[in-house]
Point group: C2
Chain length 220, copies 2
């Protein structure tokens, strides 16, 4: 049940509406946690009922009215309690990695496309995180901000997000290159396979690739 604590942590930087929270926990950002809008509205309702957050209605001229939430004293206490007890380890769970795990038994073209797409997504996130970091530190240099800035928490989680996406991008690029090379090598070795692209999926009967143990770089 860490979503509630993620919400509390997100609200420490000031009042936010459900909608604004939803953006912060969305695909594009999600520095330190991810959740869908529905989860957030539900969680806010629960937190309010338990007195861990409180909301105030703000009527707007041009936009629908919204409710801005902030953490109560009880909420802060709960967050501190949470922070004190042991963290459960976090795990990788990624569709794309499952596909790469099966790379040798699966259509190479489609996989390469997905890995490249992921690299592009990572690149976009990197830009976003860099902008966010610049905004957070303002005039100060990074060293200085980290030493003396108020609230490093969000800065640190954003740094983790940045490093994660850089790792993602680098791995995706390398993986795409490797899969392309191997695919080309197979196609070259097989004396021109028919069909566009180069399927690289051996028929059920063909033994799994049967790649020669040592090979004097076929093709190029």
């Amino acid at each position: 049940m860490a979503l509630r604590h993620a919400v509390l942590a997100a609200l420490l930087d000031g009042e936010l509406s459900g909608y604004q929270l939803a953006k912060a926990f969305d695909v594009g950002v999600a520095n330190f946690w991810h959740a869908l809008p529905q989860q957030l509205y539900a969680e806010l309702a629960r937190l309010e009922k338990e007195g861990l957050v409180a909301g105030r209605r703000v009527v707007q001229e041009t936009r629908p009215a919204k409710r801005l939430f902030h953490v109560t004293d009880a909420g802060l206490t709960e967050l501190q309690r949470f922070a004190a007890d042991a963290s459960k380890p976090s795990f990788i769970r990624d569709d794309l990695l499952v596909k790469v795990q099966a790379a040798d038994h699966v259509d190479a073209g489609a996989l390469i496309r997905q890995v490249e797409e992921r690299a592009a997504m990572a690149e976009a996130k990197i830009d976003l995180f860099r902008r966010i970091l610049r905004k957070m530190r303002g005039d100060l240099g990074e060293e200085e901000f980290i030493r003396a800035g108020r609230r490093v928490g969000p800065y640190l989680t954003c740094l983790r997000g940045l490093a994660f996406e850089e790792g993602n991008r680098d791995w995706c690029r390398r993986t795409a290159a490797i899969l392309r090379d191997r695919n080309a090598a197979v196609a070259g070795g097989n004396a021109a396979v028919a069909g566009e692209g180069t399927p690289a999926v051996p028929g059920e009967s063909t033994a799994p690739a049967a790649r020669p143990p040592e090979v004097a770089r076929a093709g190029r």
Copy 2:
């Protein structure tokens, strides 16, 4: 519903029992997916009922009998279908990051301990992944294996795991150092706070840290 595909992908490298699968998807490893034993036994049962995997009973002398599962043709087809359609993006969801996000409002000592513990865990995983990679590539150098080895899939996902844990370790170390420095600075500025450790949690009344905007490195 990607667990099924993760299981299929894991079984591509040869027959495995539920127990062996469980180890592969466990805390220590989890190259590309994580799951608990119960999930795996349940998923294997479903997959078998649908004909995507098949198991054969192996009686052992000294150990209880086990069932070794392998992917059927139908299973391979399903995996290929899965690999072809779009991957959903993967998200960060980490207790520890939530706590670091709240770092400025929370007991620093406990948090630093947890970050350091995480760094140690990452280090252990790094060693493990390095061993696994060495074993996979055998006599070949990495370059060579990647170009010409049979089955790069597992190697590539393990490389991602390695890079992820390296990123984790580096970030944890840096974060721990930063939090320690800031904690020391606060304690130094406050003319010796009572109690062991240094709480660093400002009372509810004390304004959030009120750290001076520019500071001439307090302490050391």
